[in-house]
Symmetry: D2
Subunit: 340 residues, 4 copies
């Protein structure tokens, strides 16, 4: 049987690398086309020397859309604000699209404009785009033409919070605090001083106080999924590791609640979710999920507060693995294909 043909638009970053790695062992799909804004048609394995023998396609110029002939689905790994100019061209050619950027994640264009500093260029499609968190949107993803792949921080936070919010266990009058610790790959592959090895190593550092763009994403999706307004105070930190993300979440319960009750709600919510593990044996840690599409969750109660832990690999469940999970659902593969 011939394999599903996929294209990666913007393959030269870490999410592109990870998409290629995962698709190279997918039983039913393959990377057929790479399109890039880089001139000179570089071979992808010249950019990522690890890919020699795995994928040696050329990165064609992004405007050479004729290369897309016969392609079924495109992963768009372009920067925010660039993606929304390109996605329409793909959809118009009949491809289904998983957009890894933030451009189609926020249903409200005013919120987009406020946080991304420019008017949305494709407002009409905001309604049509499906937020690609399979654990909550599986049915809509199945039919979607355009999936907005969630941010890494929102994936971690929402998987922990949404079932409890839905079950009315969190006091909507109190902001939920999401204290996140992330590896450096989350910042992309352009060298910067902040993630230069001698600056990042042996260094834990907060950033984006009160103004990280994943904060409104968490709030909008929580509201969307649960029908309730939720305020999120999101504080990310960089820690000295390549990959992995841990969110520690502090929330006020609506009433007296036990760890068992919280755990029970999470376990029921994810009974059929192959990639969410509700842990009572150990506390979630990034090592346990590194290199996998799992998100590990745990719920605790202390000093009258709910404490939730959520760990995932920011490059996999937080980006490329989830994108392929979405593709699997869109095209009728087993949800876990290529992901174990």
């Amino acid at each position: 049987m011939s394999k599903l043909k996929t294209a990666i638009i913007g393959p030269t970053g870490y999410t592109g690398l990870e998409l290629i790695r995962i698709l190279s062992r997918h039983p039913g799909a393959e990377v057929s086309v790479l399109l890039s804004r880089r001139p000179g048609r570089p071979v992808i394995s010249d950019i990522f020397p690890s890919l020699v023998g795995v994928c040696e396609l050329k990165c064609e110029l992004i405007d050479d859309e004729k290369c897309l002939e016969g392609v079924d689905v495109a992963f768009v790994a372009l920067p925010h604000t660039v993606a929304m100019a390109y996605v329409p061209r793909l959809l118009e050619r009949g491809l289904r699209v998983v957009d890894m950027s933030a451009d189609y994640r926020l249903p409200d264009p005013a919120v987009y404009e406020k946080w991304y500093g420019m008017e949305h260029a494709d407002k009409a499609r905001l309604d049509e785009a499906v937020y690609g968190l399979p654990e909550f949107m599986r049915e809509r993803i199945r039919e979607a033409k355009l999936v907005a792949n969630p941010g890494c921080y929102p994936t971690a936070a929402l998987l922990a919070l949404a079932p409890l919010a839905e079950a009315d266990m969190l006091d909507p009058g109190m902001p939920v605090i999401v204290d996140a610790k992330s590896g450096a790959t989350g910042a992309g592959r352009t060298p910067t001083l902040v993630n230069y090895f001698p600056e990042r190593n042996e260094n834990v550092e907060p950033y984006g106080v009160g103004d990280h763009r994943h904060m409104p994403e968490m709030e909008q999706v929580l509201t969307d999924v649960t029908g309730k307004e939720t305020t999120v105070l999101f504080q990310p930190h960089l820690v000295p590791m390549d990959r992995g993300m841990l969110c520690t979440i502090y929330a006020a319960p609506t009433g007296g609640v036990t760890r068992e009750q919280l755990t029970d709600v999470l376990e029921k919510a994810y009974a059929d979710a192959p990639f969410v593990r509700v842990r009572t044996d150990v506390l979630p840690a990034t090592k346990y999920v590194s290199g996998t599409n799992f998100c590990d969750l745990a719920a605790h109660v202390a000093k009258g507060k709910v404490i939730l832990f959520s760990a995932l690999d920011n490059m996999i469940k937080g980006a490329s693995g989830q994108a392929i999970q979405n593709m699997n659902i869109m095209f009728g593969f087993d949800e876990t294909a290529g992901l174990y």
Copy 2:
């Protein structure tokens, strides 16, 4: 002029190593005696090969108290519950003592018993011991016979919180959340699986949910310093680095408050503190304080919450540097002697 003679009781852990390193460049004090529970009178530089040429004293047996003849001050780096059996002997010999353990930090013996699992063996001295946080206790430290050197997490948290609590800027009805990220040296030098390199590297991990012993220490000292009951929800995490600690603190303000007002209170509180830097230029990060006795603080406001950041080197301002800062105060040295 002859130098102050110091002894280190329990010098074979990381705090011992750091005490020796700092004292080796102190202009007015020197390490004269090492006493250890290890048999065989090992030379300290056989335990820490970095010390060859710096300090090559033998570790005498801890019961060889005659070695303490002529010693002015002892740093006790023994484990919790062991220290309180030994400290009285030192005091009775006329030495002044800086105890690095938790044994004399909690004024209330019932709290000690609850958190350390045994009755306090030296209750009479709990009142006499001075909590060695120089920024708040400088005058009492000057005269103290026995200084209880604070824990690393409490030092970081209290330096951020105490001035704001004192100024009635924090709502005492709401628990303060202290989310801490610590390097692995904080766990001591006995090899464990949790801090074995292949387990700790590339791994962020929470521990001690609701039951870390530094939580009551923070609460008691906050109450002590400010005269108000404060509840603290403390959640520590291990991150893959040797040393350094960052506390991110979330608190409810009593009323509308601005970043400028918070910063102003902190700056006034630490106007004369040589080791506390209130940062408005950058966010505190462990790299900026690594290898120093500084504690960097910053205050922010987001979503109606106060967010405080506090960074220090857990081995220096969080342990051995602070112990020497206390010694400096006790013996009339410049507070910064040996510490820049």
Copy 3:
């Protein structure tokens, strides 16, 4: 079609974990039985929390051999000297065996005794065991009952050296120098001070000067493969990383030789080897092979010496990946099955 049934004897170390991970995505084989010396029949995912949802078999007691009913192949991940007492029992039951220990790697029992400090307990089988370096032993592995899976350092060194030695390009009168740098997982999973995070992090350190057991393994196999006596001076170092290994090899050429000639010999030797990449685009680095079964090689000439670089993932091509590559060959799978 039913899958090949595999057993892992001694699954609680890092090689066991890696075998389970790889086999969990193998298209034609599965882990059926775990046997361990640990009492209490622990579930493997209690030992490795990352395995929840991937493999939750119990570790049966190692003497419960009846569990091996129906099993086709066993991977023995027991310590050196323990393995040789157990392997015969497996072979007698009719299983084929891939032994990860050193016990069957050295054909000469006198050499074994000298380096491992005890008489070999199963000398009769030393001849029958096949050294499991597929790139040189593929045909013999196909038929082997017992494969001695190579050490990580020998794999890296031999893949670089053997083709050049065979081609008479290395002066046999001069010792070959192998300077190796290895991640900490190579030392196993028992916590030690030398690999305790605060000791290993920020620390490069040599060990085993002149007495590492992989030195005679390299020499014997080089002699075996090439028919010439070769002396190897092997010097390993620990570097602060989880996994990965780089060997930098210095050798005297027999005569004038160019980089191109060396590269040409390597390329021809590995034309059909799916996991050896001869690099001329970049220098081998551990990052390029991390998480893969690849070994990257490069040859250079400087100051009249041959310099070879060889990089692999010590847990995969250096241990468990190679074991499964051997299994693939033994049972007629595609050599790369489960390994891309």
Copy 4:
């Protein structure tokens, strides 16, 4: 007594930071002037936030030489080829100079031109410059107007090799192999992909095969010090750590030689050197010298070869610490002042 006034020319890199840190605790010297090519007169603590409270001087423009009024000594931390255009101006103003660049390290201008790709701009001073390796040049440094501070790799290699070469224990007909492993700070502070955290972490990587500029530096100084031609094959590697350097050196002895004989020569050579430690207790490791001006050495014999290990902190004994050691000698301070 007033302190010696020092200037740092080019203070915004890691060597500048380290000079400032060390001088801030020097008993007899202080940083008086910073001159930089950066426009806008930035405060140094805005570039290095760790320096708030330690040094908050402005970086004056490099051409504002009037700032140098009253300055006794300048540390030049400018890039290679830039330094030689500036050093003459300092000398002509009567300052003594420690040049951290390579510009005055190679006595032969033809060698400079070959390796640095341009004609030397200040040939006349090459003879007058003293190579600042105090252990071999102490007397000449005392009187020097211009000290060429050695490279980090040559310092490590020469301290191990020179005494043995002088004692005719190394066969001059065989190249000495120097296999070096270095932390990332050695590459300077400009962000690059090669030292971007996600590329450097978990990655050991060789570079500069046969063409590193420290190779001729080692050869020329060895010849200079010993009066014999020595060939060096130098192969550096990057390892995932901030700082520290280990050289493993392989050499052919002139005849039968024992470890004890080698050690004896080293111990005699460094009997009066406060910063060289000849180790027989442990193998040199970067952790033991991190943050110090020590260089740890050890000599071994295996397979008829001499193996030497040399470890130092590349930012201290390999750069700024050695520069201050040179300053101490030039100005009559105790050689260790500020460096313990």
